[in-house]
């Protein structure tokens, strides 16, 4: 008998997926002509297991987004040291698309407009790449339709060009739609809460929570504010400052940040 609607092509005996970041150093080429690379990440250590949710919180310029984009393989960033492994596989050796197919998903803070490519075409091409085969058309249409309904996305969006003319909230919902459809092993959410009003934040958070409830995804929730943590409860909270994790704790650490802010992590030391 054929197995019906397996959400992904993970073999059932696969162990819990684990993303291991060890002593990661990342530099970026300075945008002005002052020359020379600037080190942004200065030795990041972090392990994210499937089923866990880690919140990474930190002030602006602390390197949170650099961590997100480096894990996804953005060419702007140069890895100068350390390692990133997903289930023992060297992520840093993989191209951007290989990382995605290996199960790393980055929900971007500023999703990019892709003129000429419709959302429906994009989603199907992406799902085909990630799943290794084209989803059956009939079940796929239903799957997308239902996922869009859950995120209160107008069905007309399927025919619009990717992110073109989308509002900030629409772009974020579209990112979470992809998260739900692509079912990664590791989801990195880069400031998904920024620019959202309360309703949109709730809808987006519910989407993330649906994916988390499957227990199959490890979530790295990058945020500046504690607001989203009211909807998405993290298991671990890390404070990011000056290119590394300055302190780690449980959910109570977020409460402390809510009250005290980032000041104690920012002062006394080189500027990031």
């Amino acid at each position: 008998m054929r197995q019906c609607s397996s959400p992904s092509h993970r073999s059932p005996e696969a162990p819990m997926a684990t993303l291991e970041i060890n002593d990661l150093h990342v530099s970026v080429e300075a945008e002005d002509s002052t020359g020379g690379p600037t080190e942004i990440l200065r030795g990041v250590d972090l392990t994210v297991k499937q089923g866990e949710t880690h919140a990474i919180m930190g002030p602006n310029g602390s390197g949170k987004s650099t961590l997100a984009y480096s894990l996804a393989g953005h060419p702007k960033y140069t890895i100068t040291g350390g390692s990133v492994k997903l289930d023992g596989e060297d992520v840093l050796e993989m191209s951007v698309d290989e990382r995605a197919r290996a199960g790393v998903f980055l929900a971007m803070q500023y999703p990019v407009e892709v003129p000429g490519v419709s959302v429906s075409n994009f989603l199907r091409t992406s799902a085909t790449a990630i799943r290794g085969e084209a989803p059956k058309l009939r079940t796929w249409v239903k799957e997308v339709k239902e996922a869009m309904e859950r995120l209160s996305i107008d069905p007309k969006f399927a025919e619009r060009n990717v992110n073109e003319g989308f509002s900030g909230g629409e772009k974020k919902r579209h990112e979470i739609l992809q998260l739900e459809l692509l079912k990664p092993k590791i989801a990195i959410l880069d400031e998904t809460d920024s620019g959202l009003d309360v309703d949109a934040l709730r809808i987006v958070s519910e989407g993330v929570n649906r994916v988390r409830e499957s227990g199959e995804v490890g979530t790295l929730l990058i945020t500046h504010y504690t607001r989203i943590l009211r909807y998405i409860k993290p298991d671990h909270v890390h404070v990011f400052a000056k290119g590394r994790i300055a302190e780690s704790g449980g959910p109570e650490l977020a409460d402390k940040l809510e009250e005290e802010g980032y000041e104690q992590y920012v002062k006394g030391g080189a500027t990031a």
Partner: protein, 393 residues
């Protein structure tokens, strides 16, 4: 008059809308239209109509040194009822749709041996396209073709260019009242070919002319699709699709001359560029003369720059001499396939090659659909794929 736009480096867009001004479209040409090559001085490259063209790559088509040597194989496949004749330059059916507007076109008119007149009788509704295939075998050739489509006739015409050639040839489309004509002209030359051609359409009362120009090949391809109207109610749709590779120069210079009331025109050209020194030029002139009340016109040019090192010049010009029109507009934009777009698609598991394919296919989709002939559409899509493969490997 020029509108500035924010566009990426390596491309240039300038546009103008002249209202009730003196005729800039006509005065920008260095000589008035003529059938006689002697009426045009040899261009030196600074003339308005030649300033984008690499004259030194025209293999003498512009200065009289290109001697006709043949080397082109022509096949015409015409459905029953369609006649094909070879006639002299003095035949009254030759030259009705417009005079040559530059020296190269006039050279072709002065140099061809026999013109080919392909006639579709009035009221005939062709169920099969008229196909003209030209295959270059390396020589210099001049030509002239007239498609004479009678009143209320309906025809699809496919003109196909392949092989290697140095060719200047003009094509006329004369549409009787109420006729419906779709022309697909495919420039699928080898990368060594040089091809210049002026397309003149004379659109009869209530007739519909649709042109789809597809340019992939050639070292230099320079086409002048032009439309005028013989009576009110005429409609012209001019579509174009080009894929300009490293080292290629592809130039499309359009003119829609609204000199008759209540006619419509719609122009949409799209091009993709990749590779060093790929150069695409698009000139879109629309002239609405004082008598052309009730005119409705729109023109658009879009370019997609896939790699560094290529260049686009896009110049829409709209000249309006009457305010009593339905609508007139133009748009031109050149965008880049950016690293950020590539990253976004790849971050969703899509390979680099597939990402480019997605973007380019999407970009061209609406134009490919305009062809309306499955075999030609499939060939275009395959050609686009092949161009993309070439860019990645």
């Amino acid at each position: 008059m020029a509108e500035a736009q924010t566009i990426p480096g390596g491309s240039n867009t300038s546009g103008a809308i002249a209202v009730a001004a003196e005729s800039t479209t006509a005065t920008r040409m260095s000589a008035p239209p003529s059938f006689d090559v002697a009426d045009f001085p040899v261009p030196h490259g600074r003339e308005e109509e030649w300033r984008f063209t690499p004259l030194d790559r025209l293999k003498g088509l512009h200065d009289g040194t290109a001697q006709a040597s043949g080397g082109i194989k022509t096949d015409v496949s015409a459905p029953d009822g369609v006649t094909v004749e070879a006639v002299g330059r003095d035949d009254e059916r030759v030259g009705r749709a417009g005079k040559p507007v530059d020296r190269v076109a006039a050279q072709a008119f002065s140099s061809f041996e026999k013109a080919s007149v392909i006639s579709v009788p009035k009221d005939a509704v062709l169920t099969e396209p008229v196909r003209v295939s030209l295959h270059g075998e390396g020589g210099v050739s001049y030509g002239h073709t007239v498609f004479d489509v009678g009143a209320f006739a309906e025809a699809v015409i496919v003109i196909d260019h392949t092989g290697d050639a140095v060719r200047s040839a003009n094509v006329e489309f004369v549409l009787g009242d109420g006729a419906k004509v779709t022309v697909v002209s495919v420039q699928d030359w080898d990368d060594t070919a040089v091809h210049c051609s002026q397309h003149n359409a004379l659109v009869g009362r209530d007739a519909t002319f649709k042109s789809v120009v597809v340019t992939f090949g050639g070292d230099v391809v320079r086409l002048n699709p032009r439309v005028t109207y013989a009576g009110p109610g005429g409609e012209a749709e001019l579509y174009g699709l080009y894929f300009t590779d490293a080292g290629q120069h592809q130039e499309h210079r359009l003119l829609v001359d609204h000199d008759t009331p209540n006619c419509r025109s719609n122009v949409a050209y799209k091009g993709a560029l990749q590779g060093d020194d790929a150069h695409a030029v698009w000139i879109g002139d629309v002239l609405i003369q004082a008598d052309a009340t009730g005119t409705d016109t729109y023109e658009l040019n879009r370019n997609l720059v896939l790699t560094d090192g290529s260049r686009v010049d896009s110049v829409p010009n709209l000249e309006i001499e009457t305010g009593e029109i339905v609508g007139a507009g133009h748009a031109s934009a050149t965008g880049r396939f950016e690293d950020e777009q590539l990253f976004y698609l790849m971050a969703r598991g899509i390979s680099e090659q597939e990402a480019r394919r997605l973007v380019v296919r999407g970009f061209f989709a609406e134009l490919v659909q305009q062809v309306g002939l499955p075999d030609v559409e499939e060939r275009l899509l395959a050609k686009i794929e092949a161009e993309l493969e070439a860019s990645v490997s």
